[in-house]
């Protein structure tokens, strides 16, 4: 159906508020930062063009940048599968019809809506040498480390802290679980499948869209870790928890190298883009969409 000119213009008019905001607050700074990444801008005075020097320096002369990439990769590699597996099993538990189910669901979801700074300060207390975490480990005979002052254990401490926020992922899995048709489980039972087989051959395949969604979101999120690193460890000890976003923030707002920080931001964007494109690329091999096989 061909739209009239008036219909086209009225459509634009309706989206104009969002469009203007997007152009001014998102696309504008987006384009500006590309330009600034090729300058030595220090936010006082005018930017001076330096070409690709910032990008060259990033990969040849900035050990902290390389360290931040490695740290963020480490965090992503442990946090993402860890939180997905935990959220998956918690969702299965919370899908059972037991007394007090809403209370359990609320209890598991609540941490993920708690303010990040408050959470960070809470975990600073929990991770003290005589904090609750070490006390719990002591109950099972383990002598807990100095989590926040050890360059070996600081990153595991942040990863442990991140698992507390599994609520968002759990909610997505819970919704997906409730969307699995019961007749599939019944058919599996008829075929003699036990609990484990049902899970592996019915639940997991039917949940692959949700798993794919959460994998994409978690990877994007893990590359943007900032609050916990700033508040809990401030990137230490010894840069062991220096994440790329924290390095970007320090470069821009503590060292006033805005041009160089813009270059870091664009490298981060490319890294996240590559991961996302890769995930979409391999998704075709393992994500099952109901009805997709008929196409």
């Amino acid at each position: 159906m061909r739209t009239t000119r008036w219909q086209r213009w009225s459509g634009l008019l309706f989206i104009a508020p969002w469009l203007i905001t997007f152009l001014w607050f998102t696309l504008g700074p987006f384009v500006a930062s590309i330009f600034l990444s090729f300058t030595n801008y220090r936010f006082i005075g005018l930017p001076e063009w330096v070409g690709a020097d910032n990008y060259v320096r990033l990969f040849t002369d900035d050990a902290k940048f390389i360290r931040s990439i490695i740290n963020t990769l480490y965090y992503t590699a442990v946090h993402v599968p860890g939180i997905m597996v935990m959220a998956f099993f918690v969702a299965i538990l919370l899908n059972q019809k037991v007394k007090g189910q809403p209370i359990y669901r609320t209890a598991f979801y609540l941490p993920s809506v708690t303010a990040g700074v408050a959470t960070a300060y809470l975990w600073i207390l929990l991770l003290q040498p005589n904090g609750l975490v070490n006390q719990f480990l002591g109950l099972v005979g383990i002598d807990g480390p100095n989590w926040l002052t050890s360059s070996t254990w600081a990153m595991p401490a942040l990863i442990l802290m991140s698992f507390w926020g599994l609520g968002t992922t759990m909610i997505i899995y819970l919704a997906a679980l409730q969307g699995i048709p019961q007749h599939l489980y019944e058919a599996a039972s008829v075929d003699g499948a036990g609990v484990i087989r049902k899970m592996w051959h019915v639940t997991v395949p039917m949940m692959t869209p949700a798993i794919f969604l959460t994998a994409v979101l978690q990877i994007i999120g893990s590359w943007q870790v900032f609050t916990q690193a700033l508040i809990v460890t401030n990137g230490g000890p010894r840069d062991s928890t220096l994440f790329i976003l924290l390095h970007l923030y320090r470069t821009g707002f503590e060292y006033f190298q805005m041009g160089y920080a813009s270059a870091i931001a664009w490298v981060l964007f490319v890294i996240i883009l590559v991961f996302t494109v890769l995930q979409f690329g391999i998704a075709r091999r393992w994500v099952y969409y109901e009805g997709a096989s008929e196409r």
Binding site: F43, P129, G235, G236, P237, R238, F253, E254
Partner: protein, 511 residues
């Protein structure tokens, strides 16, 4: 007034009341009156009273006669001699009302907040036409917030900065000399370290090579505090000016009892007021030269390495300092500062804010400043850091430069700095105030040796941090590389040499 209301009390009250009214009336008339009140001397003299009592006895009749003898009662009553002398002063010239100054400050809690509030109340009385919007920001967030606001172009008209950020933001700051001259302000009244010692470029915190950007506000200096009660309880003699590092270590051994979690020393992580002055006192310093930017770091000399090793080894070899991992066991509910627990004998750090330490200690024990022990070379060193109020170019846009000069000079002036001296949240930056009894005199809960703070600050052995563009990154690298030693992960010597290499790599990019 306690006790029954007697005629004498009523008369006295009326007398004092009429006296006060007279003084008020005379003051309103603009005349100077001296009112004297006569001293009423009264002295109480016991009155002998004879009571007549009839006793029904057959043969004996005793008659008692009551006789009141009027005597002059003399009672010494001290009456305050009220002398009201009105001095005619020229009222400050009131400028035309301006837009409110956006005044960003981080004295937003505790003693400092009380000082700021009281000072601004007086400012409002003296300069009713100078309006401001005070934006108090908690200290932990202040630096980042100001940095971001500078980047966004939304920073206030007046901000507090240190020398490092003064240099970074210099193009965005107003040069003050002309405005100060126009306002008739005599900078000699204030304490500006670069004017006290112009030969030392490291002390330029409010000016850049003589060009004034900042008005004095507060300052900081390092030293040691010690727990008098713990020294007494453990039978250790009080520190003296001829103490050396060896004397201090020996005292720390006597003060340490690991079983009861008591330690002679607490050696924290920050370098500015803790281990860098030790390095500076022992043949090292921050940089090899006092130029900007410095060509190389100067802290890893043999003397500097010795000093840093002494600092770290006191905890991990000698066992007289609190290991960082055990600090939380020392702290209890409501006490977050190690020295305030009462279990630490001595602690190096900033001694410029005894008002804050008084609150943290909360009267649990007596404490005082102590002379800094001398290094093996016989020297001491003091790290200073002045912060000033700077007027940004936003004040030019808003037309509030002149008003901002009035505000910042008031804060640097005798009245406000006198309040700083009372609260002792920082070093007062006024020459008369820092030498006054108001600052140096004893206050309960405060250290008796306030003079040590002034002496350290004005000492010829005091140095500044030699700020330059890129300094903040150098500072972070220094602390990142040295922290593993301070937490006991790697040897001190190795950490400091690593720090030297990493810092020099950064400095090379600035040349």
């Amino acid at each position: 007034m306690s006790g029954p209301v007697t005629r004498r009390k009523v008369i006295r009250a009326l007398g004092v009341g009429s006296l006060g009214a007279s003084a008020a009336i005379l003051a309103a008339c603009g005349e100077t009156q001296v009112v004297e009140v006569e001293k009423i001397v009264e002295r109480e003299v016991p009155v002998e009273k004879v009571v007549e009592k009839e006793v029904p006895v057959q043969q004996i009749v005793t008659k008692e006669v009551v006789k009141e003898v009027p005597v002059e009662v003399q009672k010494v009553v001290e009456v305050e001699k009220v002398v009201t002398r009105e001095v005619m002063v020229e009222a400050p010239t009131q400028m035309e009302p301006t837009a409110p100054i956006q005044f960003m400050n981080y004295w937003a809690a505790g003693t400092r907040w009380e000082t700021m509030k009281a000072g601004l109340e007086e400012f409002d009385k003296q300069f009713p036409n100078v309006k401001y919007d005070l934006i108090p920001i908690p200290p932990g967030f202040y630096r980042d917030k100001v940095n971001i606001m500078f980047a966004a172009g939304t920073v206030g008209d007046v901000v507090v900065l240190n020398g490092a950020r003064m240099r970074e933001f210099a193009p965005g700051l107003v040069q003050l000399q002309d405005h100060v001259d126009k306002a008739g302000i005599d900078l000699d009244d204030y304490l500006i370290l670069s004017r006290e010692n112009p030969a030392d470029p490291s002390l330029q915190n409010l000016d850049i090579d003589g060009v004034l950007y900042g008005m004095p506000f507060m300052s900081a200096v390092n030293g040691y505090v010690y727990n008098i009660d713990k020294f007494d309880a453990d039978g250790v003699d009080a520190p003296t000016a001829d103490w050396t590092w060896d004397s201090q270590l020996e005292a720390a051994r006597q003060l340490t009892n690991a079983e009861t979690n008591e330690y002679g020393l607490h050696h924290g992580t920050g370098g500015e007021f803790r281990w860098l002055p030790l390095i500076s006192a022992n043949g090292g310093w921050l940089f090899t030269e006092r130029t900007r930017p410095a060509p190389a770091s100067g802290f890893a000399t043999e003397g500097g390495l010795e000093a840093f090793e002494w600092y770290v080894n006191a905890t991990y070899e000698e066992g007289v300092g609190v290991p960082l991992g055990e600090l939380s066991q020392l702290l209890t509910e409501g006490i977050t500062a190690p020295f305030a627990t009462g279990k630490i004998g001595m602690e190096p750090g900033g001694i410029h804010g005894p008002g804050g330490r008084k609150l943290r200690v909360g009267g649990r024990f007596e404490w005082d400043n102590m002379p800094s022990p001398r290094s093996p070379t016989g020297e001491v060193a003091y790290s200073t850091n002045e912060l000033g109020h700077f007027i940004t170019v936003k004040a030019l846009e808003h037309g509030t430069v002149e008003a901002s000069v009035i505000l910042t000079s008031f804060i640097a002036g005798e009245y406000f700095q006198g309040l700083v001296a009372d609260g002792r949240g920082a070093i007062p930056m006024h020459r008369a105030v820092i030498n006054s009894d108001r600052y140096l005199g004893f206050q309960p809960g405060m250290p008796r040796s306030m003079n040590l703070i002034r002496d350290h600050f004005l000492s010829p052995d005091a140095y500044g941090l030699m700020f330059f563009s890129g300094w903040a990154q150098w500072w972070n690298i220094l602390h990142d590389e040295t922290q593993p030693a301070i937490v006991g992960e790697i040897p001190a010597r190795e950490a400091l040499l690593n720090a030297q290499a990493a810092c020099d790599k950064h400095l090379a990019t600035l040349q």
